[in-house]
């Protein structure tokens, strides 16, 4: 059963709408949903002041599908802590989408803002466009609340510090990524099909990062272990060859960093060390 939300106007101020989740919509009438509280700047408003709400609402979260049409790139924290059901955004969406998400599915047609799926515990997020910085990251200053489960797939590019303090789960980026992918990563998997701006795996202690495109360089604290013909990630085989690095030795890390050999001719000197 589908609920449709449409923004009534373009937003200038940041809008915080933690209530847009299947969990808080389930079992409510359209009117009741319209009365849920959201913040626009420092003013508290009800959801139907900012959005038109229509459709049918399921009784349980897993029966709720929320569809948002229009530009909601100023709207933050959609899908916070959702546990089931589905959210589909036809347009760009703001910061903290799917923060602390436990289950269910989020699909974004456009681009997503920073902190996408931060502190995520389960479920699936798929973004057709680009994502900002800190995809699947931890809360500021917290070393224990990184992404701990679930899947994030980004078809466009992603920014810096993707998977910061990641502990479990999988992030796939089909485009390019910025710097510090998997910084402080403890476990989990990151796959980058495009290029990386470098410093991947900085201070990682475990987990796997695969970069299929080019990197400017590898950090000095990674030691080359082998050249592998392919890598297997969750049943998917990625054709290599890949250089396999281990690190970050500055953290006594056991993380694995796979870098494509074909796209990185400048790393050839590492072969002498294998």
């Amino acid at each position: 059963m589908v609920v449709v939300l449409r923004p009534k106007r373009a937003f200038k101020l940041p809008v915080e709408a933690e209530c847009i989740t299947p969990d808080s919509f389930a079992g409510k009438s359209v009117d009741e949903i319209g009365k849920l509280k959201v913040w626009e700047g420092n003013r508290e408003r009800s959801l139907n002041e900012l959005f038109s709400v229509e459709g049918e609402i399921g009784a349980k979260p897993e029966e709720v599908m929320v569809k948002i049409f229009g530009d909601v790139h100023k709207v933050r924290r959609i899908g916070t802590q959702m546990s089931a059901g589905e959210i589909v955004v036809h347009g760009d969406v703001g910061f903290h989408l799917g923060e602390e998400m436990v289950g269910g599915k989020i699909l974004v047609d456009g681009n997503a803002g920073s902190w996408l799926g931060s502190m995520m515990k389960g479920g699936v997020i798929e973004v057709k466009g680009d994502a900002g910085d800190y995809v699947g990251s931890a809360y500021r200053g917290s070393s224990t609340r990184g992404m701990s489960g679930g899947t994030i797939v980004i078809h466009g590019d992603a920014g810096n510090e993707l998977g910061y303090y990641m502990r479990k789960g999988i992030i796939k980026v089909h485009g390019n990524v910025g710097q510090f992918t998997g910084v402080h990563m403890k476990n989990g998997i990151v796959v980058v099909y495009g290029n990386s701006e470098g410093r991947s795996g900085a201070e990682m202690t475990g987990g796997k990062i695969v970069v299929c495109g080019s990197v400017p360089s590898v950090l000095p604290t990674f030691t080359v272990e082998a050249v592998k013909s392919r890598v297997k990630i969750n049943g998917e085989k990625l054709a290599g060859p890949f250089y396999l690095f281990k690190g970050d030795i500055a953290e006594e890390g056991e993380g694995k960093l796979y870098i494509s050999k074909a796209s990185n001719a400048h790393l050839k000197s590492y072969e002498n060390l294998v």
Partner: protein, 481 residues
Amino acid sequence: MPIISNVTCPVCGSLCDDIEILVENNKVVKVKNACGLGESKFLNYNGHRLRKPLIRKNGELVEASIKEAIRRSAEILADAAYPILYGWSNTSCEAIRVGLELAEEIGGVIDNTSTVCHGPSVLSIQDVGYSTCTLGQIRHRADLVIYWGSNPWSAHPRHIERYTAFTQGRFQASIWYRYLAHLSAYRARRRLLRALKLSSVREAPTIEAEAGLPPTLFRKERKMIVVDVRRTRTADIADYFLQVEPNKDYEVLEALRALIRDEEIDMDTVAGVPVETLEELADVMIGCKFGVLFFGVGLTMSMGKLRNIDTAICMVRDLNRYTKFIIMPMRGHFNVTGSNVVSTWQTGYPYAVDFSHGYPRYNPGETSVVDILARGESDASLIVASDPVAHFPKAAVENLVRNPVIVIDPEPTPTTLMADVVFPSSFVGIETEGTAYRMDHVPLPLKKIVEPPSGCLSDMEILQRILAEVRKIKRETAEVA
């Protein structure tokens, strides 16, 4: 003629508190002990200043009464749905405290200048913690001083003289005369080479970088190392200058960390520095008795930002397995540390605090003022003792001046020219007393040495009056409702 002694200098984060000032007819006539920066502030502060409140009417700034200006500001702030309150590093802790109260009252975002200087340091300290001490301890005990991405000779002129290389500690000898000899020899050599270059057709020989570390780094007395991307004045007097390629600090720090842990590195050079040199440097760091790493904006604002500090702190943590090592940011404005401290004790967060939901929230990048302005989300601003129009990126400035701007500042700046309400305030530490925090988190009193011109209130008084007026407006609207 009263000589006022033990005056604290309100210019840089070193906050020298040994300044002596001679005052005649409510005018500073002589300054002793201060460096050039401090002295010129004490002597010249009064030359070019604002004296009357201004309000923009029909597009022009016109003089107004203080009462009118307070009312106008309170109306702007009470009306705003996402106001920002920015600046704070050049005022007293007392004023900052009132500013935080005002931010809470109007549901605004309050941020200080660390957002554009040492914000990354704060973020990484929150990630990994850090070990530090006071400057006094460094002066008396440190036998190895490293300045990384920082040029105290120009930015904190008395830092070296009071706390590190040029001063003799109670428990740590310093052969400071060597530094002076070093400096004059270096300058003479530079002059000679320049003369040679000008007088001969042939290219003069350049000064070759030494391959290994100089033997002076292994002596007992205090040693000083400078790491930077270019040779600064501070580098000229150092025992050893390590030049790294721009934006490669992170790699160097990581490599040093691995070497400190006795790991091997697969590369021959890191950021243009041979690994052997780094190995020796790691040994010097491990071998010292009490080391200190001062880092500046060269590290916090080069590529990697907070991660540079993150790994620098981790390096210091690793070093503490072998010896005593501490790390300290070289804070710029005299009370930028204070603005972090006051904000932390009032709200739990050091900067970029968002009160829009009525309680403090914090997420730099989301709630930091530069980013809010760049996204064009705010609808009014209050700027205290700072000049964002001159220092922020263009897009942020455009969004700032598109909305009402209130400025409290003793001096005219590009920001006051673009403002809607301007309050002339008195100079903290010269005309008003207060408290400021030195870069090592030691609070020091700021003195009042002369009377302010009539009509110039202190930052704190202006803020208190705006706050009272905002509360009055809120009561009025509540009664009407």
